[in-house]
């Protein structure tokens, strides 16, 4: 009895994908180093606290991660619908009453914690799409109109609501994650081509009729930051200066003038990667991207060895979540994409993002935990 328990415990321990855990920890340590630097400048009275907060969020995140690891992920096939509709209700509430009750914000304020329903919707979308899409066989010609109907509806409802808020950044993120998952499960070539054509037609139409002026301005300012050097353009310019001025080896820990002297906006959240690039240069920037690369390779291995299609799609969904956040965040920091408020997973400061990410990765870990079959 004694012995068997020991064996059981050891296998329990050994079944966890430690590579995943290690690369996550590595990225979080990089995040903490830069968060410390970003919150300990000469004028950071009051923000030093953020560093300690982040450690608490990390602890919470890891707890959720461990719990999720040991929870059988298949229960999500049922919970996915419940989560999805509750979340949809929350978004609807924020969209309908948010403007009146909470000004222009997209939050529900719980006092100690501001809850942003559109953020958790990303994870709910991953679950429900994993459930729906796992029913189709991807080895054939791919999905046709009939098969695509429900996944697209599931995706478009929250998308429409978030666009209405309006939060174009999160809406695009939902479409990217959901769209990636659908494409992953193979779509018929004819439909794919017509979809691309439809989008090509829709973009100019949306530009003329759909977008509001401030949204158009944001796109214009991305194309020409000097159009508004003190507004959104300012952030883009300062971030580019920060990244570039890091040169090969960087200015050194806590020596980045752009971040220490507050030329960089939002340096502890959306622009944490600028702080990194400035203080640790090309070498530091590449190392971090490399860590993300390793993370994705581990992720793909987990997905490809998953026990079932639902599990594989969950992992693919979470990887898409991390990938698109990383893509948009770093892309905007290095001046390839317009400035949208998207944090860098595992590195940026923020409770919401950290909890969502760690939940998602917990699910990945749960899938990995169950890949071994006896």
């Amino acid at each position: 009895m004694d012995l068997s328990l020991q064996v059981h415990e050891r296998t329990l321990f050994r079944r966890i994908d430690w590579n995943l855990v290690l690369v996550m920890l590595a990225l979080q340590v990089v995040g903490l180093i830069n968060l410390y630097s970003a919150t300990h400048g000469p004028h950071s009275e009051g923000v030093e606290q953020l560093f300690l907060n982040q450690i608490i969020w990390l602890a919470t995140g890891w707890t959720i991660f461990m719990v999720a690891t040991f929870v059988e992920y298949t229960i999500l096939t049922k919970l996915a619908y419940i989560f999805y509709f509750i979340n949809l209700g929350a978004i609807l509430w924020v969209t309908l009453f948010g403007d009146v009750a909470l000004g222009a914000q997209r939050w529900i304020d719980f006092g100690f914690f501001k809850y942003q329903p559109s953020e958790t919707m990303k994870m709910c979308l991953i679950m429900i799409l994993a459930k729906t899409l796992s029913q189709f066989n991807s080895s054939g010609r791919g999905m046709g109109f009939k098969e695509l109907f429900w996944p697209v509806v599931i995706l478009l409802i929250p998308f429409g609501l978030v666009v209405e808020q309006p939060d174009l950044g999160t809406a695009m993120m939902l479409v990217s994650i959901g769209g990636s998952m659908i494409l992953f499960c193979k779509v018929r070539k004819s439909i794919l081509i017509s979809a691309i054509l439809a989008i090509a037609v829709a973009i100019p139409l949306a530009w003329s009729y759909g977008l509001r002026d401030y949204q158009k301005n944001r796109v214009i300012n991305f194309i020409d930051p000097m159009n508004d050097p003190q507004g959104t353009g300012y952030n883009s310019i300062q971030s580019r200066i920060a990244v570039g001025s890091g040169q090969l080896v960087g200015k050194g820990f806590r020596k980045g003038t752009q971040s220490q002297l507050e030329f960089l906006p939002e340096r502890h959240t959306d622009f944490i990667y600028s702080v990194l690039s400035e203080e640790h240069g090309f070498i530091g920037s590449l190392t971090t991207i490399g860590l993300f690369g390793v993370f994705f390779l581990i992720g793909v291995r987990v997905a490809s060895t998953a026990r079932d299609k639902f599990g594989a799609l969950l992992v693919v969904g979470v990887l898409c979540y991390v990938f698109w956040h990383m893509f948009v965040n770093i892309g905007m920091v290095i001046g390839l994409l317009p400035i949208v408020g998207v944090p860098l997973p595992l590195l940026s400061y923020g409770g919401s993002g950290m909890i969502t990410t760690m939940t998602g990765l917990g699910i990945v870990s749960s899938v990995a935990y169950r890949r071994y079959i006896f």
Binding site: F184, L248, I289, R307
Partner: protein, 662 residues
Amino acid sequence: MADYVSNPDESKEYLPRYKLFYILLAATFSIFFMRLWYLQIIEGEELRTFSEKNRVKQNKILAPRGLMVDRDGKTLVENHPGFEAILSPQYITNLDGVAQAIGPILGQEPEKIVQRVQRSRRQNGPFAQVRIKDNLIKDEVFRLKRIRLDYPGLEIKETVVRHFPMGYNGAQILGYVSEISKRQIPIYNEKYKGDLTFDQGDIIGKTGLEEVLEKHIRGKDGVQLIQVDAFGRETQSNTKNIYGEELSDREPTPGYNVVLTLDKDVQEAAWNSFESHKRIGALVAMKPNGEILAWVSAPSFDPNQFSQGPSQTYWNQLINDPFKPLRNKVIQDHYSPGSTFKAFIALASLQEKEINPTTIINCPGAFAFGRRLYHDHLKGGHGNITVYEALERSSNVFFYKMGIALGIDRMFNYVSTFGIGTRSGIELPREAPGLMPSAQWKKQAIGEEWQAGENLSVAIGQGFVTATPMQMAVAYSAIANKGKVYRPFIVKKIIDHDGKVVKENQELLLRDLTQKQASGISISPETFDVVREGLRRVVQGERGTAKRVQIPGVEIAGKTGTSQVMGFSADQIYAKCDSRPVHQRHHGWFIGWAPADKPEIVVAALGEHSCSGSGGAGPLVHDTMLAYFQKYRPDLIEAGKKSGKKTAAPTAQPQQEVPEGE
């Protein structure tokens, strides 16, 4: 557990799909790699400078410009401390807010401030500071300091304000300073390459000695390097661990001081004379060796207003003034010398033996030459007179006859050796050359043959002849000196901040006319003596035209002259000058030296539209000379007072106003 094993290969179905993921990852990481390479390696150096510009604010510490003092060390140009309001666009978070806040304090329209900052940001980038107002008064400084912390980008800077204690007096010679214009920056940087550099916002000398002496009196600006954060707040750069190398300041080097040959007392007397007689025109007083003692151009302007950035209305007022206060009339305007020219013709006639000192010439009231009748200013004429009386009474007919006898080419040879028609070489810019015509010149410039009748005009200083007051002063010094032509100068010494003399100017003898000149002429001392005596009689003689210039105790020699503004028909010639509108009145000249036998000071004065030489320009010369002799030769003045009490004042009887010249 049974579920787990039901379909173990189920997820293998997706294996071919992961290649999409790999493609996406590979593409993304290649793009990120290239972009980072571009930003950090290729553009890294440039972006590093950008980040340095962000954090290091260069506060220019203006070097104080050198002072200017007169020959006794009295201050002519100095520096006063001042304050200015500056906006640094890179730190401004709310431009409209700042403009709304400071506009009312500085008495400027907020919209204008916004426009200026935006224009500067477009043209010069966000790092260039914009000077909103300088020479702040105490109250403005106080109010700005109170709101400064609420508006990042707003600064109050200490400055140096150029101050001219004499104000209007001597403004054209000392010049004025103001901010360098955008157009001038490259021109100045080219001109002073290797010595000085000029940036936006720099103060430079715009005219006069301030402009000429730029290289010496400018000094080298220092730089104060301050580390600032994104809001323009100064940040301690000695906080170790956080920032790299220490920032080191560079102290400014003050400009050199300049000692001028000017004499402030004489200068002020000359200026006050213009003021009290309400004269416009020019005056230059110099030592016979070329040292300038006083220099007046009237009307004048207040250079102190330029130091503070002149208001548009003041500028318009100066530009539209018909009497051109900004012009330095001593060297920049030339006029017909009129009868003052007769001294040179007398010298030429005597030296060329056309006459001798005792030759008697008949001078009626009019002289027929060709088909024209040439008038004397005195209707009845002067009768039979020698060259002495001809000069004393300024006979026109006498010199008409001399002009015919000499011809233009001989007149040209003599007159031009005195410097008429060539720039005097004074240190100041934009000097007009004047003109002494010759037959050859007329053929080249106008394409016509010289007419014999024009000899008559030239002989009495009319026609094509023009000269600046400066040239006339130099030429008359040569007569006073018996033939020595000196180059005039105004900068005596340039002294560096340690008191070491960097440069010292000495008198420079250009020509000695008693020696043979290039044109083959020379003038004997005896000839000079005859003309000098004639000129002495102009002031001291019984029938002299400039008796009112007399100073008891000091004998003065000189010559009056009238420069015609426009021609008049015969009946108008004798019309009363005062009855004409101001701009039609003649200019009056008086050029003279004193003491007559041993010259110490030469003064040339031109009273524009003052009608006559003795009445218009004479008092200016009189007052200037009086101030000089009161200061340097009080003994002569005292002696003059004593003898003056015994005899009746010669100027007591009202003098007949006689128009001179043609």
